[in-house]
């Protein structure tokens, strides 16, 4: 049972972390609560299905196409719609929600509301310590790991990463320092869309792909980002582990109340925030003024 909790929690946490870091990135840098983030994840899963199953392209090509198309959609949405009204925060929230609904309904028109499926990249399972986990899920965990390392390197070791972090900390000063802030924001939006697309592509084959699959993980992703602390990628990853393990432990200990696992994880988040209002690794806002 312990092995089951440890391994299932690990896999789940990896997926949550991958989804949450993208959300955290765009939230931390541009202060946009992007409710369409998980809708991009849904789009990528449908893209994989469309290119791979309907058009019959090879796996590599369909992965690349799904990734590129999703990132273009994500970046275009930001550039054409969100950037112009960035100052109105509630309006941005609403527009991202509207886009999530538009994406969902567009997929429902095109592919109907019945679930479609994508076969695993490598079928079969891999048994560790007596716990069977699909190879696809291990693959997803590995991808999450690589993507997070890559993101960390990008943010800390490159000039672009420095610009992104600077724009996130103080856009005005960053602008004064000669950073092209709008461009940086656009790149951030693209990066976030990339992360969402990657997660959709690697998780999609383990799920039934349906148009409304974006709503279920959205709440968890938002909870993870806030629990970890705004703009802290490290915090997001650690919070992903905490909430994933809470869910898995609830499911193992109280099987009849599995459906409570989400509420209990969210309750844990609320309690943590009561003790640390700025999240686990966030900076305190007390001295910051609006």
């Amino acid at each position: 049972m312990i092995e089951g909790i440890l391994i299932n929690g690990l896999v789940k946490a990896g997926l949550y972390a991958l989804l949450a870091t993208g959300f955290s990135l765009i939230f931390g840098v541009t202060r946009i609560i992007n409710l369409a983030h998980t809708a991009l994840y849904m789009l990528a899963a449908y893209g994989l299905y469309y290119f791979g199953q309907e058009l019959g392209l090879s796996l590599g090509v369909s992965i690349a196409l799904a990734l590129v198309v999703t990132v273009i959609i994500g970046a275009l949405t930001y550039k054409l719609f969100i950037e112009r009204i960035r100052e109105h925060h509630m309006t941005v929230l609403l527009i991202t929600l509207a886009f999530a609904i538009i994406f969902e309904e567009a997929m429902a028109r095109e592919f109907s509301r019945d679930a479609v499926t994508v076969p695993s990249f490598i079928s079969g399972y891999w048994e560790v310590a007596g716990v069977k986990v699909l190879i696809q899920r291990w693959l997803a965990l590995g991808t999450a790991f690589v993507a997070l390392i890559g993101l960390w390197l990008l943010l800390t070791k490159t000039k672009l990463g420095t610009a992104i972090r600077a724009a996130g900390q103080d856009a005005e000063v960053a602008n004064l320092m000669g950073i092209n802030v709008p461009r940086t924001f656009l790149i951030t939006a693209g990066l976030a869309a990339t992360l969402a697309a990657i997660s959709g592509i690697v998780i999609g084959p383990t799920l039934g792909v349906v148009p409304h699959m974006w709503t279920d993980p959205l709440i968890m992703v938002m909870a993870i980002v806030v629990l970890g602390g705004l703009g802290s990628l490290k915090g997001s990853v650690i919070a992903a582990f905490i909430l994933a393990y809470v869910e898995v432990i609830v499911c193992y200990s109280f099987p009849e109340h599995c459906y409570m696992s989400r509420a209990i994880a969210l309750g844990a988040m609320i309690l943590t925030l009561m003790v640390r209002p700025e999240g686990l690794f966030g900076t305190s806002f007390e001295e910051e003024r609006l």
Binding site: F27, A263, G267
Partner: protein, 384 residues
């Protein structure tokens, strides 16, 4: 010879008429509001189709709900993404009181409101410590916890199936069509005073209630407000209690109107987002924006235009409404009602009174009305 007291009456009445002429009829926005109220009151004379009345009753419920969100989140800036919590708590309390103790709607709805106000006070506790997105996420999570509690006490709440067989608002007539007309007026009796009270409470220029101006102050800069000697904690509690109370009134009315209460419909995350959608669409932080948003987006576009005029399936309805919202908000990011108001009213640069757009001089102080762009009071919700 007129009796002196009678004379006083005349004076009062003539003063009222003068004020009405001067302060209401000269401002286009207020004229529109007045016409709107009259249309609502007289609507059943023109059309007493029960399903149209049902759409309007639902709209009235949503109006109270949306305005209460606007009061809490729009004015004080306490971004609440889980407003359905108050709606659901009141719906459950009203339903349980009605089913188990046989209380009538006129009692259960206010009691439900009070229960929701208490829930509001409880939610306010974390709100004192948390700011911006942190508060938003905690409030978003609370309805999920509430659903878990509902499912934990299945013997009382009947779990997912929820409560049913709740008493009606009004059912004395034989013909359900007549009952619907009376219920419609009851919904107005609930909606109009609630909106009026919340509008007066949040009026920043009011000389009687200081709440409005303080709410603005808390939203714009809480630390500065505290530095000015405002007990921000107290006013946050007030905002949460009042917002919760009126959301609860809406929830209680919903329970007695639809006669079923279940977790998905009354505590669901989409209900919380829906209310934000309508309010932001109409114009946040303005009260009338929430009213306009609900009537336009919900009653007109969703329930009438896309259902009765153009018959389409729900999926296309959702998509069309989302596209309309994106387009409108792209060009009127402060909301449709606020945008229209800015077009038809001009604020006097000197005395800050609102004037009709065609005036050249202020109706009160005579100052010239330049093309002064009215500063948008849409709140900045970021915490960064």
């Amino acid at each position: 010879m007129v009796h002196p007291s009678r004379k006083r009456d005349y004076k009062l009445i003539s003063r009222l008429i003068r004020d009405f002429n001067g302060d209401v009829l000269t401002v286009p926005g207020r004229v529109i509001a007045l016409i709107f109220v009259f249309v609502l009151l007289l609507f059943p004379l023109a059309n007493n189709d029960p399903h149209i009345l049902r759409i309007l009753i639902m709209a009235n419920i949503y109006v109270v709900f949306a305005v209460s969100w606007d009061l809490l989140s729009g004015y004080t800036g306490q971004m609440n993404l889980g407003h359905a919590l108050f709606f659901g708590v009141a719906a459950y309390v009203a339903a349980l009181l009605n089913i188990h103790y046989g209380l009538d709607p006129w009692l259960t709805i206010p009691i439900g409101g009070v229960a929701a106000a208490i829930a509001g006070l409880l939610v306010c506790l974390p709100a004192l410590r948390l700011r911006g997105p942190y508060l938003a996420l905690v409030t978003l999570a609370l309805p999920f916890v509430a659903v878990a509690i509902v499912l934990l006490f299945k013997s009382t709440t009947n779990g997912d199936m929820g409560l049913y067989g709740i008493g009606r608002i009004f059912s004395s007539f034989e013909d359900p069509r007549d009952n619907m007309i009376v219920t419609y007026f009851f919904s107005l009796v609930m909606m109009l005073p609630s909106v009026l009270i919340m509008w007066k409470l949040t009026d920043a220029r009011s000389s009687i209630v200081r709440l409005g101006i303080i709410f603005h102050a808390i939203r714009e800069d809480e630390i500065a407000a505290r530095a000015c000697g405002i007990n921000t904690v107290r006013y946050k509690f007030i905002a949460f209690a009042v917002g919760g109370f009126f959301a609860g009134i809406a929830g209680g009315f919903y329970a007695h109107f639809l006669r079923v209460v279940n977790p998905q419909d009354t505590l669901g995350v989409f209900l919380s987002f829906e209310v934000i959608m309508y309010t932001v669409f109409g114009g946040i932080c303005s009260i009338y924006g929430a009213v306009a948003g609900v009537y336009f987006a919900r009653a007109f576009v969703w329930d009438y235009l896309l259902t009765d005029v153009v018959e389409v399936d729900v999926g296309i309805k959702r998509m069309s409404l989302a596209i309309i919202m994106v387009l409108v908000l792209l060009f009127m990011p402060q909301g449709i009602a606020v945008w229209i108001r800015d077009k038809i009213e001009k604020t006097c640069p000197r005395c800050k009174l609102n004037n009709a757009f065609f005036r050249r001089n202020c109706r009160a102080c005579g100052a010239e009305l330049h093309v002064v762009k009215k500063k948008s009071i849409a709140p900045d919700m970021s915490s960064g």
